[in-house]
C-alpha cells in the first residue's frame, strides 16, 4: 500500500519548496483557536458519606475529594473525618495538592496536609501518586513530613466489582504509617491504623449511589494502648449506610 516508503518519497519534493512552506507564518484569525482543547473542568466526589452503626452508638464519617484544572495541571483537595458518638470530631485531615499528570494512568501530587479536628493540629508537607493501577485498582500512596520533623505514609486502595452495571461491590482500605507515636492524635509508630470497608452501592444515576456495607477500623502496634487509654475501641466493626455522590 505504501510502496516506496516515506524516505524515498520525500526526496522528490524540492527542499526549497518544502522550506518555504515550513517557514510561512501561521496566524489564526482574530487570535482565536479553532478548538478549545485546554478547557478547565472541576468535579467533587464524595466517596463516603455515611452513618456507621454499632451497639456502642453511631458514628458519622465522610471522605471526599475534589479537583479543578486541565488535563495536565490540577488543584486537588481531599478531606476526611469522623464524628463520634460523643460528638467529638476525630481522625480528620484536609489536603491541598498540586496535581500533575505524569504517566498514562498516574498523577503526581504535592502540597500540604493539615490534621484539623478536636485533637491537636498537625501540619505536614505531602507528596504522592494517585491513579489507576493494573487490573483497575484505584490507588493513592502519599508520604508526609511534619513541621515537627516526623514522617508518615498513607496507602489507599479500592476496587469496583460490577455485580451488574449499576450494583457495585467495593472493597476499600486505608492504611496509615507513622515514624513516631503521637499520643494526642491516637497515633503509634509503624502501621498505626487501618480503616477498611466493603460497600454495596446501587448507582441510581452515576452521580447518586446509596450504599450499605460493613466497615472495620483498627489500631495496631503502639497505637493500640494509646487508643485504649483514650477510650477508643481498638478493633471496631460496624454496619454502615450512606451515599456516594459526585457532581
Amino acid at each position: 500500500m505504501t510502496a516506496g516508503g516515506p524516505a524515498a518519497l520525500a526526496q522528490q519534493t524540492p527542499a526549497g519548496v518544502q522550506d518555504a512552506v515550513r517557514l510561512a507564518p501561521l496566524e489564526y484569525i482574530g487570535g482565536m483557536q479553532p478548538v478549545m482543547d485546554n478547557s478547565i473542568f472541576a468535579h467533587v466526589l464524595l466517596e463516603q458519606f455515611e452513618d456507621r452503626a454499632a451497639g456502642n452508638g453511631q458514628q458519622f464519617r465522610y471522605d471526599g475529594q475534589g479537583w479543578i484544572g486541565t488535563d495536565i495541571n490540577k488543584v486537588w483537595v481531599k478531606s476526611e473525618g469522623t464524628v463520634g458518638t460523643r460528638g467529638q470530631f476525630s481522625d480528620s485531615d484536609q489536603e491541598l495538592l498540586y496535581d500533575r499528570a505524569i504517566s498514562r494512568y498516574f498523577d503526581l501530587q504535592a502540597g500540604v496536609r493539615m490534621d484539623l479536628d478536636n485533637g491537636p493540629t498537625r501540619t505536614w508537607a505531602a507528596i504522592g501518586v494517585q491513579g489507576l493501577s493494573l487490573y483497575f485498582f484505584d490507588i493513592e500512596a502519599t508520604g508526609y513530613v511534619s513541621d515537627r520533623g516526623r514522617t508518615a505514609a498513607r496507602l489507599k486502595g479500592s476496587y469496583d466489582i460490577l455485580l451488574t452495571n449499576r450494583l457495585i461491590l467495593q472493597p476499600e482500605a486505608e492504611l496509615n504509617f507513622y515514624s513516631k507515636s503521637d499520643r494526642g492524635r491516637s497515633v503509634g509508630s509503624g502501621l498505626s491504623d487501618i480503616d477498611a470497608g466493603l460497600r454495596l452501592r446501587y448507582e441510581v444515576t452515576r452521580k447518586f449511589a446509596p450504599y450499605i456495607g460493613v466497615t472495620y477500623a483498627g489500631y495496631f502496634g503502639q497505637a493500640q494502648p494509646i487508643a485504649h487509654s483514650n477510650g477508643d475501641r481498638v478493633q471496631d466493626i460496624r454496619f454502615t449506610f450512606g451515599v456516594r455522590s459526585w457532581f
Binding site: G5, V35, L162
Partner: protein, 578 residues
Amino acid sequence: MSRRRFVQGSILSGAALATLGGRAWGMAAANSAGVLSGKRFDLAIGSVPVNMTGRPAVATGVNGLTPGPVLHWRQGDTVVLNVRNTLAVPSSIHWHGIRSPANMDGVPALSFRGIMPGETFTYWIPLHQSGTYWYHSHSAFQEQTGLYGAIVVEPAAGYAQHFDRDHVVLLSDWSDSSPEEIVSNLKMQNDYYNFHERDAGTFLADAHRRGLGATIGDRLMWGGMRMSAADIADVTGATYTYLFNGAPPGANWTGLFRPGERVRLRFINGSSMSFFDVRIPGLTMTVVAADGNDVEPVPIDEFRIGVAETYDVIVEPTAEAYTIFAQSEDRTGFARGTLATRAGLVAPIPPMDPRPIRTMTDMGMGTMNMGGSMAGMDMSGGKPAPANSGTTGMADKRRMGGAMKASPEGQKLHVGVGVDNVAMDPINRLGEPGDGLSGNGRRVLTYNDLRATIAGADPRPPSREITLHLTGNMQRYMWGFDGKKFSQAEPIRLARGERVRFTLINDTMMEHPIHLHGLWSELENGQGDYRPYKHTVIVQPGGKLSYLVTADAPGMWAYHCHLLYHMELGMFRTVVVA
C-alpha cells in the same frame, strides 16, 4: 419518564408540534417548507424549541428548524448565502464536503472570524461538484444541539443512475443534557454513558461457555491493559435519542413512493458521536455514491455510516411499507423511518443486533485474533466473546509491547499521559465492514467495495508521505494525533499543488472518522486509479490506511476527527496549503 419513552422519543408532543406549521422540530425533509432551492439563501441561526424525549428543550437550528432546511443547489451555480446569527453567542456554518474558497469554509479562526451575535455573514460558493453533502456549525458544541442540515447538489450533466424519487435521510443524535455536561461527565468518568461494561453476569456466562480459566485469563488481560473490551461508544443511548430527519423513532418519519419506482435515498450521518449501521429489511440497497462522489453501483444489504459520511443508495420497493433501520454501532438505540406507499403505514422494526466487543485486533495487535474479531459478539445476557485460543500468548505480546514496536513511526511514539496504547501491528482493515458487522449473514459494504466511476484527476505519484497516529487516553478522555493535542502541535504544511500521501494509524480502540476540509482524500483501497474520493474516512481501531491528497486549494484548512468531543479535546490539526 420511562426508558421506552426516552429511547423512542416523544410521539404525542412531536406530532402536536409538527402540526404547528412543522416548525418546532425537524420534519424538515418531509415537507416542502424544509427544502430551499435556488442561488440565493437567507438563513437565520437561532434557538428552536423542541421536544425529542417528552421533555421540552431548546435546540439550535436554522430558520426555526432542526435539522435546518435541505439546501438544494445546482452544480455550476455560484450560491450566495446570507447567514444571520440571532444567538447570543458566536456561530458559524461549515459546508461539509463542499470545496469552497478557503475564506468561505466557515471554520472560526481558520477561515473567518465566525458570525458574531446579530451579525450577518455572506458566503459565496462556486459549485464545481455535485452530490450529497451537509452543513453544520463549527463553533463550540452547537452541532450537538441541532445546528446542521442537508445539502443536495444536482449534477449539471444529469445523474448517472436513473431514479424516480429522492429522499434525504439525515441521521443524528440528540441529548437533553448539554454538550458541556456530557464532556465534563466523560472527563470525570470515561465510561459514564456505558451501561454495558462486562460484569459478574457476563463473567459467569463466559465461564460457562469458555471455561473458568480462559475467562479469568481474558479478564486479567484486559485488566492488565486497563482497557474495556466493552468500549464501543463514548456517548450512548443512555443519554441519546437517535433521530431520523430530526424525528425520534416513535415519531416514525415516513417517505413516500409508488410501487415500481426507483428511490434514491441520500444518507447523511449528521451525528456528533454516533456511527450507524443501516439496513432496510426486505430491500437490497445499491450504493451509487459515497461522500458525494459517484461509485460503481454496489448491491448490499447493510452499510456502516461514520459520523459526517454520506452514502447515496437506490432501492426499488414493491411492498407497501419498509422500515429504514439505523442502529447505533453500540446497539443502545436506533433511528428509524418508514418508506411507504401512503402515510400511516408501518413495517416491523427488527431487533437490534448483538453488541460488538473489542478484540486484540482493535488494540492494534494485527490479525492474531481474527477469529475472535469475526465471531466476537457480546449479546447482552449470554455472550459469545472473542475466541480464546492464544489469549496467553497475546498477553505476553502485550507485556513486551512497551518496548517493541513494529512500525518505524510507532518507534517514535511512546505511551504516556496522552497515549494509552501504541498499535504494535496495525493492519489494513479496509476489507472489513467494522466491529459488529462481520458474519451476520448480510452483505455489508466495505471500503474496498468503493470504486470511483472515473479515474482520479491527478495521475502523479505522491512526492512525500505524512504518517499520523490517531492517539488518545481513554481513562483521561484525551485525544490527539501523534500523542499531541491541537494546542501542542505544529500545523501540517503542504506546498500548493503538492501531491501527498497521508497514512493514518489508529492506536486507539475506537473508530475515528477523519475529515480533511477543502481537499479530497482519495482512499487507496486497491481500486487502482479508480480510488473513491472522500471527505471523511473512518479509520478502524488497530487499522492502518492511506489516501492521496492533491493540495490544489490554498488556505488554512481544518483536519480533524469528526467525533465532536474528540475534535474539541484536541484531535485536530490545521493544514496550511501555501
